[in-house]
Amino acid sequence: MNSALQQRLFTDDSITVEPVITVRGLRTAFGDHVVHDNLDLTVFPGEILVLVGGSGTGKTVLLRQIIGLDQPAAGSVKVLRHSLFDLTPGERRRLSYRWGMLFQAGALFSALSVFDNVALPLRELRTVPEDLVRDVVMCRLAMVGLTANDADKRPSDLSGGMVKRVALARALSLDPELLFLDEPTAGLDPLRSDEFVDLVRSLHRQLGFTVVMVTHDLDTLLALATRVAVLADKRVIVCDTVPEVLKVDHPFIHTFFLGERGLRALGDLAPKGLHHGKP
């Protein structure tokens, strides 16, 4: 999707796009500890939305609730026009064909080879012939930059970066419309992390899915984000493009984006007059 169009889509009120994900009035509590209260979030098709927030603000919990792994105490979550918590098992299964998730530690099935891990979602459909499965899997592995040699390896023999690539290939196995990434670059060295960001960007261009991503890494955020949702004070305080987010006056945004690290990563995007960190 070209960025000019995207710019228009998310800023021009006259164009109404049906959102992919709508979260309304969400409340999460563990015992007495309230994590989210009356939280709203909207995700539009084709964008890359990045969730940021201090530790303990429930970014991963929110992601798990959007994909239906955890149930919130109150509020509604609508994904791809389906209200998540009143689906029949059949509808839920069909919905699960339309999304993919990359877990923080990869969550590859350690008993299966790389090939079988990527093939699993396709084989679970029970209707795709094995030769087509093989072609799709090899194509996916090639897309994430793995070779035929890697296909027979066990997850325990892979390096951290390769685990992420295989997990991404598995998440993309069914051509999802919606991709969830939980800390996709955590645990990767800067070089691998940049490679992974490039990979996600080029796949996003090729396949046109919507991405919801949790990350701590400013470089990843700036490289990929269409919009940024900032979680603080138990809700989403702002959800907009990076320059708009920078205009919001909030302690978390100050420390996260406008600290020394943030300014270094922001470069030219940093607001003028704040370049005190530079020599």
């Binding site: 064909y97 008993a111 090939f115 396709l122 209707t127 087509l132 093989r134 090899m138 325990s156 090729q206």
Partner: protein, 376 residues
Amino acid sequence: MPHSASSAPAAVPFRQDGKVCHVAGDWSVLALAQAGEVERRRTAMARAAEEGVRWDLHGISRLDTIGALLIWQAWGEKLPERVRWSAGQQDVFNALAMNKGEVQAAPSKPESWAWVRALGGAIFQAAENGRALLIMLGQLILDLGAMLRRPRLGPWREISAQVYRTGAQALGITALVGFLIGVVLSYLSAQQLQMIGADRFIVRLLGVSIVRELGPVLAAILVAGRSGSAITAQIGVMRVTQELDAMRVMGISHGQRLILPRVLALAVTMPLLALWTSAMALLGGMLAAQVQLGVSAQWFLTSLPDAISLTNYWIGILKGVTFGILIALIACHFGLRIQPNTESLGRGTTTSVVTSITGVILLDALYAIIFSSVGI
């Protein structure tokens, strides 16, 4: 864009008009997931895929990589010369052409003498396990010596926790199983003894068989299944979560902190559990004898000390101690050998329980031969 939201009317997925092939409708994985759909489309396209046909993809409402691959296969994995398509569709096919997966290497042929290799491997594996167990036993004795020299530094807290977990918490299940086995044994022997009029021998029969044999073995099998598996799984998960490595880094020896407490705890609790199981089995046997043969409980209890000598109890206790040490050593050994993946964890736990039960029964047979003339 591959996921265009426009919903087209139900179109025929494939139609040939003379020299033009029209592809239309939904070509996403969701549509292809219908039973038999892939085969139907494939055979339809196979008939058309000859030289010189024109392909028209404009009717396609949804196209994703999997649907595109199906068409791509029908084209013989290359772009046809004449094709009408939208820019979005072209992108999908270009992505395919760009990421044409390599052919997966053919699986290597199985060797014809593979079973010999497997047999040899199993023998070496068993020898390796035996050697490792022996080393572990040696290390245990050294650790024990070190602990006795400086008892203040011993892992007492760990030992007491393990005694509670493997001993006190196992009282219920061993009591239940012991009691029921006692009832069954007494009931069946009573029928046989009645036939030859030897009712009074029930005390001797139950006493020797339970105290010397059944009590310790039953308790050991239950503990191997209950505590042995728990020890293996716990140490195995510590490997998966790198806790074992963390201990090594801090200079805490696995032998001192993991193996020694478990072996000592089982060496203490196992003979006690064996006694407890024997007592419960005798209780069950006594009640069943009262019902079946009319032997009074009072008479049963007073004639028990005459029927079996104290030596039998000591043999039972000796068995309990050695079974306990054996189970703990085997469980720790297989726990430490677990690789950091789920499959290895399951296999390791199974092997641990099977090996310790087999070991207990082998050792018991050895004792039966050694003590064949003692205390009967």
